[in-house]
């Protein structure tokens, strides 16, 4: 029941926030903040009480029984982490837009909360139809967030985002239906229930196509080069909160989909695909890095770093071993935090000097040292400095993928050097050097500190005590690798 509550709270909160705005803007801000805090604390309490079982919570009621569609939610370690992350970032989403958003505040928060609701739904649902349902639901409000409160080129960005994700999503719908009918012809009962579909015996030829259908949606969302071009536009045009949620959560739904659906549902096919997928990942890492290095628009730059970092995710997922998988989960979380923070920084800077062009910046360290330190920390995070969460993620991913495919891993690791190049470039252009103009450059306000300090604490905590996270997802991952670890990959796991 609590699972439904998670989503319901957000939705109702959104509506209330919308209504409230008609008499006071700050009211709707507070309402959405409170909503998220409530959800967050709920999630945390669930986490505290979660036992070592694979499935912590389950909930299911029939929805469209004629099609075997049920409103079924379930919570395991992975979803739990993602859920906590969602609410956690959501809070900052509200905080960063506290001053930024001044018009149509109510509608903004409505959209914000509904995006989060959709995302939570995606992370929770265990019914493929419902999954697709939420998958689409989270896009509409996001579309509005970009399209209404975005920057100069918002309409183009919003269109691109919407069409890309929709197109790929529809392909996934086809694949889902294909799976449905395969299962129906096998077992006679048509169902969209994840657990029942899990064991489905699919002829390899079919399963290739079906997997590609799923893959389409996820790698566009992730995004994997060459399906990434919607991302820089969407990220750079969205309002800060939008970018935060895009980078922090929407991309993660893609990764989540890979872990939850692609690999378990189509083991053979994905084993077959693995080398190519890993290759794509590596290409993404390097390509994204080189593009990031060239950008002058701060948000665009950070957007491309996401492309690069998400390369590690697909690399790890298709390495098929626990280390890599743990790394991937870690990467999902840490990347969400570090990149989110960087976008927040960009937003903070934009509020002050009204540009995202890093060539017009420089020497802010002298004026805003605190901001400098904060940025430094997250820049270091994004280049994978040990002691910060991202290092754990990337190290695990690489050490895992090394077991599967050393050659590709070498190239992936070159991405770390390129990451150093672009990350330090941010630092250089924005905070080092001299600043030409004499505009006032106030340091972080209390509210802004409230945003960044928790993020810093979290990223360091994740860097030094990742075991909490690791243990949370462990049951789920163990399960997965007990179910199916493709023999083709298993052999080169080193001497035990």
């Amino acid at each position: 029941m609590i699972l439904v509550a998670f989503i319901a709270i957000l939705m109702t909160g959104g509506i209330i926030a919308w209504i409230a705005a008609s008499w006071s803007h700050s009211a709707s801000r507070w309402i959405s903040l409170v909503t998220l805090l409530v959800d967050f604390s709920l999630a945390i309490s669930v986490w505290m009480n979660s036992s070592g079982l694979e499935w912590i919570e389950k909930f299911s009621v029939p929805w469209v029984p004629d099609f075997g569609i049920s409103f079924s939610l379930a919570l395991d370690g992975l979803s739990l982490l993602m859920l906590v992350l969602t609410f956690f970032l959501g809070i900052f989403g509200v905080l960063v837009s506290w001053n930024e958003i001044q018009e149509r505040v109510g509608f903004f928060h409505f959209n914000l909360l509904w995006v989060l609701a959709g995302i939570s739904g995606v992370f929770l649902t265990m019914d493929l139809f419902l999954f697709y349902f939420f998958w689409e639901v989270m896009l509409i409000p996001m579309y509005f967030l970009i399209g209404i409160w975005g920057h100069e080129n918002k309409r183009y960005a919003a269109f691109k985002f919407f069409i890309f994700t929709q197109a790929s999503g529809l392909l996934m719908l086809l694949a889902i239906l294909g799976l449905y009918f395969v299962h129906k012809s096998n077992s006679g009962t048509g169902t969209f229930d994840y657990f029942q579909l899990l064991g489905t015996q699919i002829p390899l030829g079919t399963s290739r196509w079906l997997m590609l259908g799923f893959l389409a949606a996820f790698i566009v969302k992730l995004p994997v080069v060459p399906f990434h071009t919607w991302l820089p536009d969407a990220h750079s045009q969205a309002p800060t909160a939008g970018s935060l949620i895009l980078a922090g959560l929407l991309l993660k739904t893609g990764a989540y989909g890979l872990i939850r659906f692609v690999v378990p549902l189509f083991p053979e096919a994905s084993a077959e695909l693995a080398p190519w997928a890993m290759l794509l990942g590596v290409v993404g890492i390097l390509y994204g890095a080189s593009l990031a290095f060239a950008q002058t628009d701060l948000k665009r730059l950070v957007a491309y770093t996401s492309v690069s970092h998400m390369g590690f995710v697909i690399l790890g997922v298709f390495a098929f071993n626990q280390l890599a998988m743990q790394g991937v989960v870690m990467q999902m979380i840490t990347h969400a935090i570090s990149t989110g923070a960087l976008f927040a920084i960009a937003g903070v800077l934009y509020e002050r000097i009204h540009t995202r062009d890093i060539l017009a910046m420089g020497g802010f360290w002298g004026k805003a040292p605190f901001m400098g330190v904060v940025t430094l920390i997250f820049v270091m995070a994004s280049l994978g400095l040990p002691g910060l969460g991202n290092f754990v993620a990337e190290f695990l991913t690489l050490i895992g993928s090394w077991q599967a495919n050393p050659m590709l891993t070498i190239f992936a690791a070159i991405g770390i050097v390129t990451a150093t190049a672009y990350s330090l470039r941010i630092m250089q252009k924005v905070f080092l050097g001299k600043w030409q103009s004499e505009k006032a450059m106030p340091d972080l306000s209390l509210r802004e500190k409230l945003i960044f300090i928790p993020l810093i604490v979290t990223i360091i905590w994740l860097g030094l005590f990742p075991q909490t996270v690791i243990n949370t997802v462990k049951p789920m991952i163990d399960k997965q690798f007990k179910i199916e670890q493709p023999t083709s990959i298993q052999n080169n796991n080193g001497v035990q």
Binding site: K160, V225, P226, H228, T229, P232, S290, L291, F293, A294, Q295, Q322, L323, Q326, G363, W365, G366, P369, V373, L376, M380, L385, P386, G387, F391, V392, F395, L396, L398, I399, W402, Q403, P406, T409, I410, A413, I414, I416, V417, T418, T420, A421, L424, R425, Q428, F431, L432, G433, K434, L464, F465, P466, Q467, I470, K474, G494, V495, Q496
Partner: protein, 623 residues
């Protein structure tokens, strides 16, 4: 067991300074900064005493389990043995002295608190590096020192070029780091552990001498070492790193961080022992580097750059020592080098500051009366660097390497010759620097004279430099082997080629002569006949500029790597792949325009449409 306090204290200091740096009163800052390091230095002494007196071969303490995923379980745990004890002694004690020095040196800088914060952070990460009981934690320290070096090189961030130098340092070392990472990956794949001791044990079991994997892994590790220790081919970052304040150069780019590579190889000597070819390569790298860097140092005019190149060259000696598996010799030279190079840098810093940040030696001169303390200490340091016989620590440490490079079991005549040439060049450039700076006529008026805060560390270091040498004396006189005995449990003594012992005195004699002759040459060119030097310079201008640019490595890498990468990424700034999708849109719009013509609004068109449709339907019958 207070082992964990040693790295923790500087960390605490750094934390305090970062968070409250703005608010703190200025005189409190150095107290916190140097105090934290001083405390851990004291702890080190206490611990060192306990360690030596106790029979235990190592102290071990585990703070917490870092990660644990089936088999992969690095902990945040510290491991103290003789080797790491030597290192933490140098780090904390020399570090402490440098902190004290900086307290005065940096006092007028508005980034005072920031400076000490970084410095403390550095000390912490360096300590973690050498105390880590597993490779992952070591890697943490390894990257941490990289970060601090980046921050401190770019400390004066307003200068564009400082930032550039800082980035260069970080990126170049990062190249080495990933090679190290690969080494770790392979080790894990082999042994399913990254605990240093276990790895060493397992390696000894599983691998035979000269095994393939051992070679690959040790080469990968070497890659890491080469990056951090500024050896060929990744040495190019160190000279530029001199952009940082002098204490930084002293602590990071002379005494401690750059020797991390030496530590790494010494730490994993078991693996290297199993791969003689790798050892050979280490030796060659060392030999080549020390010669090249030496010649580069000859031509520099920036005081600090001379020292930088000399650092590279001295570390080359250490690598050479490692290469001939003269482990303790390498470590011994590391320690002595830490003393005198720190001393030299600090002194140089004092000089530069007193001449209002003048770096060019040719604009200096005649300082020996103006800055007596600096002069004398610098002289001692220089002597040690040039390895003047008998009185200087540098002589004993370097002499040992010279000797073993020839007489060690892996020794080789070419190694020896390279080392010898290096020694000669070293003493030449050292005293060139000496004479240009302190002798001759005064070119630049002296500004403020360093006070106690800066002098005391200099003096202490000078003393250390001198006496440090006497804890390890060759057979020929005294034959004190305190240091090598101390390290023996960790680092096996080098086995000599037989029928060599008899020559040792000869070698020492040669070394001494070479050093002295170097001084002589320097005297001839820079005091006796300065114009000769200029003639020589002009006669071989190209060679001079070539050496000045450090054998043109920078240009090479710029052409080979940097420019292509920058070019490519700038060309593709707007992401060609996007064009693909745009073209799809274009096609759709084009189709739309075509089809829009059919909607002409004219009735008979539409009728025609219907008719054609009907005909097409009929036509289907023919299919």
């Amino acid at each position: 067991m207070s082992l964990w306090l040693i790295p923790a204290l500087p960390l605490l200091g750094a934390f305090v300074l970062i968070v409250f740096g703005q608010q703190l009163p200025k005189r409190l800052i150095p107290i916190i900064g140097s105090g934290s390091v001083g405390l851990s230095a004291a702890l080190t002494f206490a611990l060192g005493y306990r360690f030596i007196s106790s029979s235990a071969s190592s102290f071990h303490i585990k703070a917490w389990q870092w990660m644990d995923i089936n088999g992969f379980s690095p902990a945040v745990a510290f491991h103290l043995d003789a080797l790491s004890l030597v290192f933490i002694f140098v780090i904390t004690f020399v570090g402490f002295l440098i902190h004290v020095y900086s307290a005065e040196f940096m006092v007028h800088d508005d980034g005072y608190a920031r400076f000490f914060a970084y410095l403390n952070l550095f000390v912490c990460s360096m300590l973690t590096l050498v105390l880590a009981d597993n490779f992952v934690l070591m890697y943490l320290g390894w990257e941490g020192v990289g970060l601090c070096s980046y921050l401190l090189i770019g400390f004066w961030y307003a200068e564009e070029k400082n930032g550039y130098a800082a980035r260069k340092a970080f990126i170049v070392t990062r190249v080495g780091d990933i090679s190290l990472a690969f080494g770790l990956f392979m080790l894990f794949q082999q042994f399913h552990t990254l605990n240093i001791q276990e790895v060493a044990a397992q390696a000894a079991q599983h691998w035979t001498v000269g095994s393939e994997t051992a070679l690959i892994i040790s080469l990968l590790l070497l890659g890491g070492a080469v990056g951090k220790s500024a050896q060929l081919p990744l040495q190019t970052w160190l000279p530029d790193a001199m952009a940082g304040p002098s204490p930084v150069s002293a602590l990071i780019h002379a005494a401690t961080m750059v020797t991390a590579g030496v530590y790494l190889i010494a730490r994993t000597h078991v693996i290297f022992e199993l791969a003689p070819d790798a050892l050979m390569i280490v030796g060659i790298i060392g030999a080549v580097t020390l010669v090249l860097a030496g010649f580069a140092a000859l031509t520099q005019f920036d005081l600090k750059r001379v020292l930088a190149y000399s650092t590279i060259s001295q570390i080359g000696y250490m690598f050479l020592a490692l290469g001939v598996s003269a482990w303790s010799a390498a470590i011994f030279h590391f320690m002595i080098h830490a003393f005198f190079k720190a001393l030299l840098f600090l002194a140089a810093g004092a000089v530069i500051e007193s001449l209002h940040h003048e770096h060019d030696m040719f604009k200096m001169g005649g300082l020996k009366n103006k800055l007596p303390v600096v002069y004398w200490t610098f002289l001692i340091g220089a002597g040690s660097l040039a390895a003047l016989p008998l009185i200087t620590g540098g002589f004993y440490s370097k002499d040992q390497i010279l000797w073993l490079s020839l007489a060690g079991e892996h020794g080789h005549i070419w190694f020896f010759l390279a080392a010898l040439v290096g020694a000669f060049v070293t003493s030449v450039y050292t005293f060139r620097m000496m004479f240009l700076t302190f002798f001759g006529k005064e070119n630049t008026p002296v500004g403020h004279v360093p006070g106690k805060g800066m002098n005391i560390p200099l003096i202490v270091l000078a003393i250390l430099t001198t006496v440090g040498g006497f804890i390890e004396l060759p057979h020929t006189f005294g034959h004190v082997t305190f240091f090598s005995d101390f390290l023996k449990p960790i680092l096996p003594a080098v086995t000599m080629q037989e029928e060599m012992e008899s020559f040792e005195w000869l070698i020492q004699l040669v070394a001494a002569l070479v050093a002295l002759s170097g001084v002589g040459v320097a005297y001839y060119f820079f005091i006796y006949k300065p114009d000769q030097a200029d003639e020589l310079k002009s006669s071989a201008a190209d060679l001079h500029s070539f050496w000045l640019s450090g054998w043109g490595f920078d240009k090479l890498y710029d052409k080979l790597v940097v420019q292509p990468y920058v070019y490519l990424s700038n060309v593709n700034k707007n992401d060609v792949i996007d064009k693909l999708y745009e073209s799809v849109v274009t096609v759709a719009n084009w189709l739309n325009r075509i089809l829009a013509y059919t909607q002409s609004g004219i009735l008979r068109w539409y009728i025609m449409g219907i008719v054609i449709g009907g005909i097409l339907l009929m036509a289907l019958a023919l299919i």
